[in-house]
Symmetry: C2
Subunit: 418 residues, 2 copies
């Protein structure tokens, strides 16, 4: 079916988003398939950071807090919310890490469901979510339930329904699984949780900016997510959190800080949380991080999430086609679902020698995938920067490396590939 | 005693740290006396951020995590710890905000003192610390005690001794008061708390980089602090936390995240905290923020904390002298102690019309102090950027503005001056 590299080049020529790649600062020597772990740098973000550092920080100094900085967590939150998360204004803020945001919302949700003793999660979920759940559960004496997600299919309405009961306080799942890319049915699962009287906390780290998300329409209570993946906000960029408007005043955010205070600069005696989403802020947010997210997310917004999703599906479908034709016979198995409606933006392939294959790709082929324990090679396809020819090159390299047995000449000592 | 501006200029010429100011990017038209709120930008930091953004992020992308990023929280922590905090390696990390760090350490300390039901603090402390204490106390049903600090003198060993009892789990105070600059006797207060069986959590936000701190020698248990003030790390730069080595393995950090995990990229089923200070990390740290702190703090380290402290005392003494001679008769009162051994790096003066005076200084005189409710004008003296002539100009302007009654022509509507 796929004749050669020229076929991939033809797909790139027909790609309506192709021009966006030119707006990133990309090393042309590298085939980067890890934009779902750390997104690439846009030229606008690089330039904007220089302006922010020299102008807003260096020249304007403290005055900049009154010239836009103070509102950044909500302004950037509204930008992402409106265009990428299906969230009306006043429900998303950007600040702190995904981990800290997850903690804040989990504790708030548990406090809102006193008497219920179970946090229902996914034992295959991303570590930070599981660890936060385990830590909070241990300290409060709660039970941690598991939806028993299928490794390929992820959590389904059926698996969630079978796990829910009247003791469930909170259901917490990833919308897109960080390994398999399984895409969960957010609306159905949320509705099931609500029927059982539980609140739902979604992690959107692997969906924001690549998969359309409809938080308001899906009736979601709470969500968190990362901005340094498909939103290209930069390493350790501040994360977002969403709290449905009707819940905001009823939830008690556990980390009371001066950015969550109603009249911050009164510095008054008592904490009086802000009336809206700002109450979920804590300390001083990272201005450089927020400005980078703002500039980078603007490009995602400009491209449009529907077009991004269309290209994302085309890229992953192309990858799976190539996989079937080129490498399926070489000890690989597909770790991502074939139905494009049920997967997010990346594709994972498994191989017993995945670690050494990754090392050869990185060190000898300048192709950068993501190794995931124990045997996963995660191929991130970030629609604004990944070309069809990148997919072709990656699969071609996988085929060549394994066919030659080149990876078997390496030692097995592990070096972290983030 | 102070004849004229030439006397200030002479002090600048004799200043051994004068050359450091040239290594900052400073608007020469502005007299900036708010470096204790947001420190200025060093040329090295501006350049370094450009390299980090284009090189480490843009070019190296995900590989940078293996090329230095992962160790940044501890590396920058060790740099600050060794040279500015009196902390041997392996006890300081930089990540998250001061608020979040304060929360983590407060909860960990309380868990380590089960049965004790009092958090002893200072009701005049910086809001975020008080708010975090109040929030945690409310959720755990604890009592919040107050050391009854004198507005000018701050918490003293006597006031702390009188407030401690066998119910005290944690004592939490600022080393330098954010309003009066009162400098607490860290070693004596820590020893008193230990005698009572309590742990101590110090906030060093207004001392780090301007006042020598001896955490190890003072037997301190826990500390947090800000890097965007005297360390010039940039707006919302990640904060530091300190945990005395002997306590680290006994404390339970409440926010279990993947950066606190022993083998982060195993992504294993259970949270196993790292063996050392890394267990107090949570989520992915801000790389841009850390690189900025690293570059900026390096300049503070190069200048040397003893020389910085000597200039700091000289600046604040000079300011108080000028205050006595020029403005004391104009409705002002001094809000900072005269004994240099008992104050940190800034000086607060009070005036019933402080807010409007600040506005005139900022809008008409290009002099930037910090207004602090209800009647404080906080004059931050950051030894690497503040000149004696800046102090002279500020006091001169205060005298002129108030003598002319210029501030009385303004409305009283408030605009936040951070």
């Amino acid at each position: 079916m796929i004749a050669d590299r020229a076929a991939a080049q033809a797909l790139d020529r027909a790609d309506p988003l192709a021009e966006f790649r030119d707006r990133f600062l990309i090393d042309p020597a590298v085939t980067y398939l890890d934009g779902n772990s750390l997104g690439a740098l846009t030229a606008a973000t690089s330039a904007r950071l220089g302006e922010v550092v020299r102008g807003e920080w260096g020249d304007r100094l403290i005055r900049s807090w009154n010239e836009g900085w103070t509102d950044l967590p909500t302004a950037v939150g509204d930008l992402i919310g409106a265009h990428l998360l299906g969230a009306a204004a006043g429900q998303v803020v950007v600040s702190d890490s995904t981990t800290v945001n997850f903690y804040k919302l989990l504790v708030a949700a548990l406090d809102a469901r006193p008497g219920r003793r179970t946090v229902l999660g996914d034992r295959r979920n991303f570590p930070t979510d599981r660890y936060v759940v385990d830590g909070v559960a241990e300290s409060r004496g709660l039970r941690v339930g598991d939806v028993g997600a299928d490794p390929l299919g992820g959590p389904t309405p059926d698996s969630v329904a079978a796990s829910l009961d009247s003791d469930t306080a909170v259901v917490t799942l990833s919308h897109v699984d960080y390994r398999s890319a399984a895409l969960a049915d957010m609306a159905s699962i949320t509705a099931l949780a609500h029927e059982a009287g539980a609140l739902v906390l979604w992690d959107l780290s692997h969906s924001a900016g690549v998969v359309p998300v409809e938080l308001d329409r899906s009736g979601v209570d709470l969500a968190v997510g990362c901005t340094y993946k498909y939103l290209n906000g930069g390493p350790g960029a501040p994360a977002f959190l969403y709290v449905r408007r009707e819940l905001q005043l009823d939830l008690r955010q556990p980390i009371w800080g001066w950015f969550g205070q109603r009249d911050q600069f009164e510095m008054g005696p008592a904490y009086r949380p802000a009336d809206g989403i700002e109450r979920f802020l804590t300390g001083t947010p990272s201005v450089l991080g927020l400005r980078a997210v703002e500039a980078s997310a603007a490009l995602v917004v400009e491209a449009g999430i529907e077009r991004i999703r269309a290209k994302s599906v085309a890229l992953s479908s192309f990858l799976i086609d190539l996989f079937d034709h080129r490498v399926a016979g070489l000890g690989f198995s597909l770790g991502t679902q074939r139905d494009p409606e049920r997967r997010g933006g990346h594709v994972t392939v498994h191989h017993p020698d995945a670690y050494r294959i990754c090392r050869v790709l990185v060190d000898q082929e300048q192709i950068i995938p993501d190794f995931r324990e124990p045997d996963g090679i995660r191929l991130g396809l970030s629609p604004l920067t990944t070309r069809f020819v990148d997919v072709w090159d990656a699969i071609d390299a996988l085929a060549r490396v394994v066919a030659d047995g080149r990876h078997t000449t390496l030692g097995t000592t592990r070096l972290a590939v983030t």
